[in-house]
Symmetry: C2
Subunit: 293 residues, 2 copies
């Protein structure tokens, strides 16, 4: 993981492995759209509309070119040639007891020698199931601890702060890990860590899906799922910096907005009853919960 | 319309008249929530979930207090006491041949003597019907021309520019009129104009609803309606300054987001067939169309 080509190829292989694993779970196959960016580079957008995953995207891209001045300024850089590559995933499941999951791993470099890695995985259950939440965070802690004991607590808090629906005063879900501008002496160890995060995604999601995808559900459960998806839309369109960056830089809209759910509902003053499962979930959508232990 | 109390009372009466007219159309009644703002003032949020209007809000508010410094700076003002009052409406109809409509009239003043009016009405048909589009714009032109011959062309272009879903390169609908910071020697004539715009809303919407609310529709029409509602969500959460202002200033969330539809769908790479009614509508979602003549 020392040069850009190697990183790009690892990300492509990661996309392939994840898509194969998800197709095996779901039974349906991904549709692939190859696209090129007028300014340089392109991507492979893969979308599934399946039996377990109602709508999901597993996208790879590697774009390069001259950075727009406002973006360069926002990143604290001069006018530069840049390369940005990554894999981004959002899966909206059919069954409301299967959580929404998001993953991103990314690498950025300029021709003046600046580089960094970023990424994360976070989980948005429609219904929080404690054992699943614990399993999810333990998986993330394990991969973090393998590389650096300081990573998990730091990146867990970063996720709590980042995936926050500020206007609702609630977290998007149960968080996970989030990190950006990870860099140091040499790329090697950071690249290995990021790739390891990427490789944790598939077994973690498969376990959560297999645990819950055959559970029975009612119309009420589906209604709540659509309300929670509405909050997901609110976070992504109002607060998510990645989405904003994509929309501001004239990115490929259908690839950026693949994160939006197939259906979302807004119900005025929707407020789950005291003592209900929905209320319990809502009450747990806050920062600082130690899920791993 | 010379002092704030008079303006506030006119806006309240406008809300009452519009709600009464819409209840008469729909058969259902509005639910009312009275709320107070911790910093000063409050509002009357009225929501209908009816037979013709699937979800609609007709809100009045009059808030006052000390302006947060960042907002004062954004408005080019010093630190001030302020009063902001207005009526805001968004209606999402059941029948896909009835358009989504939005109206806002507002008045703003500070204790240092600055004041202005703003507002507008714009229409978002799921299916553009030429006669309806013409009728709608003629209604707006008529009320504008009554006050100032320069208003309609100026405010029509302003609406084209404002209600633009930039990342989709399409207008939200067929536009209408939009204006802000309307001020001059004395409040009288501006207040009269804004109130006249408000009074145009009800007969215009009733005519459009009556023309179309009993038309037969299919599942395909409903699907397209949900896709267009998705674009409405994208505009409101990504681009609308009013929504952003509300979310940034810790406004009453359920009143601000009443503009979001009961249900919205996102379908990857949804592209209506050449020659279809949906394609025709999409092709007409652009700036600069002269609908009034």
């Amino acid at each position: 993981m020392d040069d850009a080509t190697q990183i790009i190829n690892s990300f492509k292989a990661l996309q392939d492995d994840i898509c194969a694993g998800l197709e095996n779970l779901d039974g349906a196959t991904f549709r692939e759209d190859l696209w090129e960016r007028p300014g340089g580079g392109g991507g492979r957008t893969r979308i599934i509309m399946g039996n377990v995953i109602e709508k999901g995207g597993v996208n790879f891209s590697a774009v390069e070119g001259t950075m727009p001045e406002n973006i360069a300024a926002a990143l604290g850089l001069g006018k530069n040639e840049f390369l940005a590559t990554g894999v981004s995933i959002v899966l909206h499941p059919v069954n409301p007891f299967v959580p929404i999951i998001h993953m991103n791993v990314r690498y950025f470099e300029t021709n003046t020698g600046k580089w960094w890695f970023g990424g994360g995985i976070d989980l948005t259950p429609h219904y929080i199931i404690d054992e699943d939440a614990q399993f999810f965070h333990q998986q993330l802690k394990r991969v973090c601890d393998k590389h650096d004991q300081t990573y998990y607590p730091k990146f867990k808090q970063w996720a709590d702060d980042y995936f926050y629906v500020k206007h609702r005063k609630e977290t998007r879900g149960i968080g996970g890990i989030f990190f950006d501008r990870l860099a140091g002496e040499s790329k090697g160890p950071y690249g290995e860590f990021v790739l390891d995060v990427g490789k944790t995604f598939l077994p973690t999601y498969l376990e959560l899906a297999n645990r819950n995808m055959n559970k029975a559900y009612t119309e009420d459960h589906l209604e709540w799922q659509k309300v929670r998806r509405g909050r997901y839309v609110e976070f992504n369109l109002v607060w998510d910096r990645g989405t904003k960056f994509g929309l501001d830089t004239d990115g490929r809209i259908e690839s950026i907005l693949m994160s939006l759910p197939p259906q979302a509902n807004w119900i005025y003053e929707h407020s789950p009853k005291q003592g209900s499962e929905e209320r319990r979930t809502l009450d747990l959508l806050k920062k600082g919960i130690n899920w791993a232990t």
